[in-house]
């Protein structure tokens, strides 16, 4: 009986905590959207300089690592499919497999996971450090809104950077598959390109693109939310930064599942 009550209470507490977190995230979302879409048109302004600064940080500076990893994954995918397809003498279909898998799934996912590690954690650490050092309080005392000042530029930059990176990553991944197939497996170059072009449809692009937009939202909000959760000192910053990466990757996979299912039909 006590075990039952205990389980019951624990479940309740967990769901209450989850509900509370959800409500906090909702408040954050409403505030951010308000300061991104509504307030700038009431003459409150947007900090374009900060947006550009963050855009360079999240987008341009991530390009080398995203490019490298996606190229390698494209090549790996080509090899793995060749392993199966060679048995049927169908190596020219590597192009279809690599193309569709890159565009629909792997390019958005890899970009999002890399950006989580690179920029999502940085957002959590930056906001957490500012909170610990009372910089957020200082902003408020000056009458400057932390949402407008800190979150909106990051949010906008993320929202632009990730879809753009994803599109580039798709091409690079396909290029990786192409290079391996043509130079290592001896697939005909024109055949490969033709097959890729025929395999890819608008719907595939829409799937990948939609996913990438939602991934951007997840990465930014998890980073911000965890950053504001930081209590205490440097230790708290470290803890919340780690937890931002874990939460973010989990939610990215979840969102991925939902959208893959939606576009399946």
């Amino acid at each position: 009986m006590t075990a039952f009550i205990y389980t019951f209470g624990a479940t309740g507490r967990v769901s209450l905590n989850a509900l509370y977190a959800l409500s906090r995230v909702c408040v954050l979302m409403v505030e951010t959207i308000n300061w991104t879409l509504v307030q700038p048109f009431r003459g409150r302004g947007l900090r374009m300089k900060a947006v550009v600064f963050n855009l360079v940080e999240y987008g341009v500076n991530s390009l080398p690592i995203v490019g490298l990893i996606c190229f390698l994954i494209g090549a790996i995918m080509a090899m793995q499919s060749a392993y199966q397809l060679a048995r049927f003498g169908a190596t020219q279909y590597i192009a279809n497999l690599v193309g569709v898998a890159s565009m629909r799934e792997l390019a958005p996912l890899m970009t999002a996971i890399l950006l989580t590690g690179r920029s999502g954690s940085a957002i959590a650490a930056e906001i957490g450090t500012m909170k610990v050092a009372e910089e957020i309080d200082a902003l408020e005392v000056m009458g400057l809104n932390p949402t407008k000042f800190l979150i909106v530029p990051k949010f906008l930059a993320m929202l632009i950077a990730i879809p753009c990176l994803t599109i580039l990553a798709t091409f690079i991944m396909i290029l990786g598959g192409y290079m391996l197939s043509v130079f290592a497996l001896g697939v005909d170059s024109d055949l490969y390109l033709n097959n890729t072009a025929r395999a890819l449809q608008m719907k595939d692009f829409a799937t990948g693109f939609t996913k990438s937009v939602f991934f951007a939202v997840v990465i930014c909000w998890v980073g911000v939310y965890r950053g504001f959760q930081v209590e205490g000192g440097a230790e708290g910053v470290g803890k919340m930064t780690t937890s931002s990466v874990v939460t973010s990757i989990f939610l990215i996979i979840l969102v991925d599942l939902v959208f893959t299912a939606l576009f399946f039909f």
Binding site: T129, M130, A133, E134, E135, D137, A138, E140, V141, M142, G143, L144
Partner: protein, 272 residues
């Protein structure tokens, strides 16, 4: 001079809780325009908490905080922003924005709240930094300057919008006696040149004697005495006597060491 009978801040029945724990329990006091009001009290008695309430960073559990006659606890966000333009705050850890140079730190509120031309803002920034003795350090980052300089830069930033009132949270904590005394003089100077109201939280008896017009003594979430420093020194209240005589609580030696290390400079002649 402004009418000295007019109060810039009036606190009525202020109760502040963290969860179920009451930290401030029914405070009542007034701060006159143009005076230096010092909040004294033992560690952890809620001085920083009181300051956070006075600047509106926290909502009290109950009670009123009137700023120029208007209650800031019930204001809308927009009204509160208007009030905050007229308030400056120096944080205990200075809270400078680490990614910005000192000049940008000071210029930030001007850039965001006014439509001044950027050349005007540059000049204003230079003036404010010169005021606290930091000319020539405009382009330094907060990480590149010392703790005392950070405190002064924090003061320059608090002064940026020409506020009516400045709050200082332990301005001289962690500084050597000479720098601490310099900061006291700076607080005095701000008050006399600009007729600023200053609200100072501090532990340092030496600086209290130097700067305070009115002292407010807190203990266990309540006010145990308010008045001029010599009035308080004559008080019969056991806590106030203990505080001024620097007598330790019976059981703890470490606290004695702590207070002694903080007040080792308790000789006004030496400090200045």
């Amino acid at each position: 001079m402004n009418d000295t009978s007019e109060h810039i801040i009036e606190v009525r029945d202020l109760v502040v809780k963290y969860g179920d724990r009451t930290v401030l329990d029914g405070l009542n006091f007034q701060i006159r325009r143009g005076e230096t009001f010092v909040i004294l009290g033992g560690s952890g008695c809620g001085k920083s908490t009181l300051l956070r309430n006075l600047v509106g960073l926290m909502r009290p559990y109950s009670g009123e905080i009137l700023f120029n006659g208007r209650d800031i606890t019930t204001m809308t966000d927009d009204e509160r922003i208007e009030v905050r333009k007229r308030v400056g705050m120096c944080f205990q850890g200075s809270a400078l924005f680490n990614s910005m140079s000192l000049a940008d730190n000071v210029a930030l509120p001007l850039r965001e709240h006014t439509r001044l031309a950027s050349s005007t803002i540059d000049i204003q920034t230079k003036i404010k930094l010169a005021l606290v003795g930091l000319s020539g350090f405009e382009e330094y980052l907060p990480a590149e300057i010392s703790g005392g300089m950070k405190k002064r830069a924090g003061l320059a930033r608090a002064m940026a919008m020409d506020p009516e009132i400045i709050f200082y949270d332990e301005p001289s904590a962690g500084l050597d006696p000479i720098v601490a005394a310099g900061l006291d003089m700076l607080i005095r100077k701000m008050q006399s040149t600009f007729n600023l109201t200053s609200v100072v939280v501090t532990h340092e008896m030496a600086s209290v004697r130097l700067i305070a017009d009115t002292v407010c003594m807190l203990n266990a979430g309540r006010i145990v005495g308010t008045g001029k420093i010599d009035e308080l020194e004559r008080s019969k209240d056991p806590f106030i006597q203990q505080f001024f005589e620097r007598r330790p609580d019976e059981e703890s030696d470490t606290r004695d060491d702590y207070i002694r290390s903080l007040m080792g400079i308790d000789l006004p002649g030496n400090a200045t």
